[in-house]
Amino acid sequence: MPNFIMSYLGSKVTPGEAGNQFWALIYVLIIFAGVAVAVLAMNWIERKALAHFQIRLGPMRVGPHGLLQPIADAVKLMLKEDIIPAEADQFVFWIAPLIGLLAAFTVYTVIPFGPSQAVSDMNIGILFMLGVSSLGVLGIVVSGWASNSHYPLIGALRSSAQMVSYEVAMGLAVVSAILMTSLNATGTGTLSMIGIVQAQQQQGVWFIFKFFPLGFLAFVIFAIAMIAETNRAPFDMAEAESELTAGYHTEYSGLRWSLFMLAEYAAMIAVSSIAVTLWLGGWMRPFPNLLHAPAWDFIFSLFPGLTFLGLAAITFVGVARMPSQSFFKIQRIGLAVFAAVLGFIALLLLVIAVAGRSADTSVAARFREGIDYVYWFVLKVAVFMYLFIWYRATWPRYRFDQLMKIGWKVMLPISLGVLIVTAIVGVIFS
């Protein structure tokens, strides 16, 4: 058994491809825990960032700067009474949030955090991802129906109308990116998520800059459609608070409601990952071909450590700026400990970066490589997550017929045009 476990360690492919279920399971657990933590963190960041957009402070009471607020919320939601309305379809009501959650989490099996840092490298990865992530809408529709109540029903109705209008444009945008992967010697493209990033590596350009502005246009269309897919502002008509009180999850409370929220944030991370993989070079650091000297490798591998160092520094400034009354003593200590943990992680990452800088086979080198891949991937996704918050703070909400109008009359023709022109340009250049 240990041999079976150890045999994977030298491998350069994903555990799914190597047929190693043990490591696949470990990866699944790591990703599940990582996404759960990311959702908690996102919850806090969204509330803080939104608050600062809106000249307020946001959560400040639970823990220093409200850092423990998401945990407090999670505990509160779990302890709440579990209500199923008497008129609801009990079984469907019960299963609806699970559909959404399942759809949001299943996509993570093919998201490539690095060339071997994924659960599995499916050869139809992108197809699988689009298919499964669209299933999330089923959870919304079903929950609206099962609630047997008017507002959720209208929310579900909007959600299904919304889906048909953006999915087509979204699919065509993805196809134009897949077309670009076939611009190699053999002339065959790939649907594998890892293959798509490797194609960008071989062609030496992120697809967002390929055939400018074709790649960029496809990316923008996808970036708009993915907001609609995750039901976020300005396309949050399915839960439109001011219109439908809470839309499809009006009748939900407690743990079930929190599952919807978990699914929503997990889906946001998932679709951002698709965008990063298809157009922004996935796990690749900036300029891997232009600045390919080992010295550059070393400099870029310092980034993860420096990022955490910066976070630790910001946190320490926060500690220093806290009022010195005894009332804040515990909070000061807590924040200082948090800063120390961040600093320790930074130190660890820097040590790994330095230790693994030269030798290509040592354990430290493999670690450094893996950390680099995951770091750049997560950084790019984080930019998207920030954009999600920014949109929410800035824009009013679209009406659902207007979204359909945009989907069918603006985005669909553009994405179709981009697809055709990309094909023509690709034929000319290959």
Binding site: L50, F53, Q54, I55, R56, A86, E87, N148, H150, Y151, L153, I154, L157, R158, A233, P234, D236, M237, A240, E241, S242, E243, L244, T245, R392, A393, T394, W395, P396, R397, Y398, R399, F400, D401, Q402
Partner: protein
């Protein structure tokens, strides 16, 4: 749910529908199934985030399209008009603040002027100027509140916080002047009770300088925003003829292209002495109403600036007897409140208490236009239109 409670629910919803309107909402009470493929009748409110209080709108929907609406009001009814019959004229003065609690100063101005007209006394010039300054500041504050909540209804969260930040400065001036922020009771019959505090003029001028760039800040977020344009243009259109027929007043009427502002049409207080314009819209849609109110804030600033620069010296209280006993008679006096024409009709029997006091609240009358404006639109537009009419339920129900 048992059969019995089912009947009760249907009875309750039937009772809410007045017999005249039952025909077009056409609730089939014999049908016990729900979620069928027919029209959907849903209750929006009285507990709803976007009905600005306790307004209940019964919507009849085909999918999301609105076939008809009915407003059910009265959830905030406090019998203000009846209370007036049991209070002396002076005692009733603070009650009017509680009608449109977002524009308490304007309410007070209307009431005080109506009683003054009945008594045939006039407030001294200085009092009139103070009244104009505070009323126009109140108009700005009311429009700020409207803008924030209206934008929030349409989904833009951020303007709400900006407008509340700036409204705070106005409320501070009110608090310094009369000690209250919301229900101010700023004026008395015959003038003002309080002389302006030291630094009042400076505070007002500071506010004007502070606020001028803030309006532009609101406008950068909304005026040319594509989504805002799509959500407000051609939404809730009401023609000038319809508006006049329904008695709609205020910015809603002006956005339809009717240049009707009581400050110009029948000047009261000291308005005839100031130079300002009446912004008018052309299409009568939600976007025009937005533009009209934004421009009104600018015009109000102009009025305040002129008034604060020319504020005369002198007494602030007219010759009003200690016990107010108006002669037998009746009077109707109306002012241009932030939301429209606010009128007071007072019948005096010569005693210390009004025989009858009737308020013509702008929100109540303007709310009638809701049905005309939203028919054929979508549910999302209903909240936009409720926001754009700018109702305050305290005033609708009184």
């Amino acid at each position: 749910m048992s059969e019995r409670t089912d009947d009760q629910t249907n009875d309750a919803s039937n009772r809410a529908l007045s017999s005249a309107d039952r025909s077009y909402l056409d609730l089939d009470t014999s049908d016990k199934t729900y979620l069928d493929s027919n029209e959907l009748v849903i209750n929006m409110g009285p507990q709803h985030p976007a009905t600005h209080g306790v307004l209940r709108v019964i919507l009849k929907l085909d999918g999301e399209r609105v076939l008809g609406t009915e407003c059910v009001i009265g959830y905030l009814h406090r019998g203000v008009e009846k209370i007036a019959e049991n209070r002396t004229y002076t005692m009733f003065n603070p009650y009017v603040d509680r009608m449109d609690y977002c524009a308490a100063v304007s309410n007070g101005l209307g009431y005080c002027e109506a009683v003054e007209k009945l008594l045939n006394v006039e407030a001294p010039p200085r009092a009139k100027y103070i009244r104009v300054i505070l009323t126009e500041l109140q108009r700005i504050a009311s429009h700020q509140l409207w803008l924030g909540t209206h934008a929030l209804d349409i989904g833009a969260m951020t303007p709400l916080f900006y407008t509340f930040r700036d409204r705070e400065e106005i409320l501070k001036i009110f608090e310094k002047y009369c000690g209250a922020r919301l229900t101010t009771h700023a004026f008395r019959i015959g003038g003002c009770q309080y002389e302006t505090y030291a630094g009042f003029e400076k505070d007002v001028k500071n506010f004007l300088a502070f606020f001028a760039p803030k309006i532009d800040e609101y406008e950068t977020l909304l005026t040319t925003n594509r989504i805002w344009l799509e959500r407000t243009r051609n939404v809730g259109v009401i023609s000038a003829a319809d508006a006049i027929a329904l008695g709609v007043t205020g910015p809603v009427l002006r956005a339809s292209g009717v240049q009707w502002d009581l400050r110009k049409a029948q000047p009261y207080a000291a308005y005839s002495e100031f130079d300002f314009e009446i912004p008018v819209g052309t299409n009568g849609d939600t976007y025009d109403r937005y533009l009209v109110r934004m421009e009104e804030m600018r015009q109000s600033m102009r009025i305040v600036e002129q008034a604060v620069n020319a504020i005369p010296e002198g007494p602030i209280m007219g010759k009003v007897p200690k016990v107010i006993k108006p002669p037998v008679g009746e009077i109707y006096h109306s002012i241009e409140a932030p939301k429209g024409e606010l009128g007071y009709f007072i019948v005096s029997d010569g005693s210390t208490q009004p025989y009858r006091l009737r308020v013509r609240p702008p929100s109540f009358v303007n709310l009638q236009a809701l049905d005309i404006m939203v028919r054929g639109l979508l549910v999302a537009d209903v909240v936009a239109v409720i926001g754009t009419i700018d109702i305050v339920l305290g005033e609708v129900d009184r």
